[in-house]
Symmetry: C3
Subunit: 273 residues, 3 copies
């Protein structure tokens, strides 16, 4: 099933509009090309809606957030909703500053996201930050482990019900949940956190997957998360004794470029709760 | 002849001012260093003219265009004209939004470019967009193939006559034309389109070539386009079975770093029409 | 001693706030992760102080300087001073435009830096630019060589006394000085100048080193400069016959990722004047 979702990305070449940070933007563009999509980066209010309309999907990423691009994010998100294009939110740094938290909350309020992807701390900030915590388990921990998995799944499903979005919480164990079901994904490698922007890259790739598989946002997100994790594993196996995080970055994107549906199926390691 | 033009870049170390997008800017800087030039990136109105004056050449690239940098682009372009420095326009995304199209047209109106480099769709947008289509073959197709080559060459020469710029239309076949002559270049590899920003990189490198060879803008542009294509081929030959588009990106820049005049001459594949 | 300073970075994982340029920002983030630190990039006035407060150290880098981020730089610098967090200034391009020179001078005036790192030309601009040149040897040359080393050391110590900052002048020979002592460092490789942003990367890494070693800013800066130079050497030894500056960039960051205290001690090549 996941393999088919990957194949759809390669066949449909989804065009994804990215309003994103300048730290990891090049890697986001290259991973979109690697997985079979195409990137357009455009963050000016003067063209945001037009570019959104031209594309099939949208990513709003809050890294290096600044006052100039917030209105463009809102306009692009609202336009994507009007057109029925899937929008992905990556609330980078929500909780780290009021600007990021407030902007993330405002986006969730005004835009209907197909997927919200972040780490547990960012997602908790969104879930709790609005003040309206009904249905949200405020006690969910700061890391998802085997012991806290059930609790975290409950939290993710609750926030998915509240927002209508697929919630992807990534970390040592990844959770991808809608209101009913959750994929708990065990792929990936700890060294991925030594490369800047693997999360941003995953959000961009997720947009390609949900755009190419519009009727299956939960499974498409799970496929993207598995694909990233599997590629992190394959890239790790390729590491030579002089390689470090810079080569690892290249190898991960290379692995995404090479990944086919069959390999994804064979290596994907998840359970559905 | 092309080899000599490359050697001039390595000997004269042209300093190139780039006002460019934040997606591919790092690769543009590294390819400028690789080919023998030096990059300066500066996009604020408060210093654009000064930096242009300090440099030998200028690139204006419209990727991630925003309201803040448009006046800086205009000022830098006009200053380059005053000083007789060659300016290169890369109208990334012209045709994709009104902001990009209008800005590209305004730049072409107010700045005399030594070279305008884009894909066929961007160049057609510029040629047709002003409303004044005399001398422009509006029927030129959306891809340059062997069958449509003559027509595309006619189009490129016409737009070169109109603007006074060398027109570089890059794609599967590249056309580099002034009003009289056109280089049709068959170098390159299809996988280059799976790396973000090979076009931006070529525009930056073109600026280095025309700056180091001020009396021969047509040939210098053709040399840069051949060099990029040859390096795309050499990099492709280096690809291992686990390599993907991220390693390919590195190999292309590496090949530019290693390229000498003799190798360029030996691999350059073009005809003059 | 240098090895212990490196180990402290790996053990203490300093979080570094970067307000920096969009050309080399990705490499700065990856080298911070490589050396054992963590990066946060945030340049909007609306969050600069909060992010500074969250982090242990700060870098202000003037590449692609623009009007929007100057107030954020000032605010972040002042906040870092209030909190006793070390701040590093990289005055990229000081002397190349009035905007950069004036901003650099204003920052030095209003913020107490732990370290100022630049090339000889940038540091001279800062030392002379304020008009107050007492204690500054205006005759220091434009490159530090064995012949001019003593003169340059005198200059660096004088500027260190005046500013209270550790002054790091990097080039073929690097000088790291406070008012009393200077490390003259002979590590590094000429090819490092063919990679964009090795200076920016060093400034980011220096912030991690001084943050993890708050009581020894001189030695911590010297350790960072030696580490960068040693990694430039190790990366050079790894170069294959098809490798160029793009692979070299990766190999340098890889080497930083792999570097341990013992290797740093063994390869560090300096004298104290």
């Amino acid at each position: 099933m996941l393999g088919k979702l990957l194949d759809n990305v390669r066949q449909r070449h989804p065009l994804v509009h990215n309003i994103t940070n300048y730290v990891t933007v090049n890697d986001c563009a290259n991973i979109l090309l690697a997985c079979g999509g195409s990137p357009i980066m455009a963050d000016d209010m003067g063209e945001a809606e037009e570019i959104t309309a031209l594309c099939g999907g949208l990513v709003l990423n809050l890294g290096t957030l600044n006052a100039r691009t917030i209105p463009a994010m809102l306009a692009a998100g609202i336009k994507a909703n009007e057109l029925g294009h899937p929008a992905v939110l990556d609330p980078v740094g929500a909780g780290a500053s009021r600007l990021r938290t407030d902007t993330a909350l405002r986006l969730v309020e005004q835009v209907r996201f197909a997927v919200i992807r972040g780490n547990i701390s960012e997602i908790k900030t969104l879930a709790l930050g609005g003040g309206s915590t009904q249905g949200v388990d405020a006690d969910v921990g700061d890391a998802v482990t085997k012991d806290t998995l059930e609790e975290a799944v409950r939290f993710a499903k609750g926030f998915a019900q509240k927002t209508g979005a697929v919630i992807a919480i990534t970390g040592a164990i990844d959770i991808v949940a809608d209101g009913e079901r959750a994929f708990c994904i065990f792929n990936g490698h700890p060294m991925m956190s030594s490369v800047t922007g693997t999360g941003c890259q995953l959000s961009a790739m997720t947009a390609a997957y949900v755009t190419a598989n519009p009727d299956r946002p939960l499974e498409a997100t799970a496929a993207a998360v598995c694909a990233m994790g599997v590629c992190g594993e394959l890239a790790q196996q390729r590491m030579g004794e002089q390689d470090g995080n810079s080569s690892y970055r290249n190898y991960i994107i290379d692995a995404v470029y090479r990944l086919d549906g069959e390999t994804l199926e064979r290596h994907a390691n998840y359970q559905i709760l």
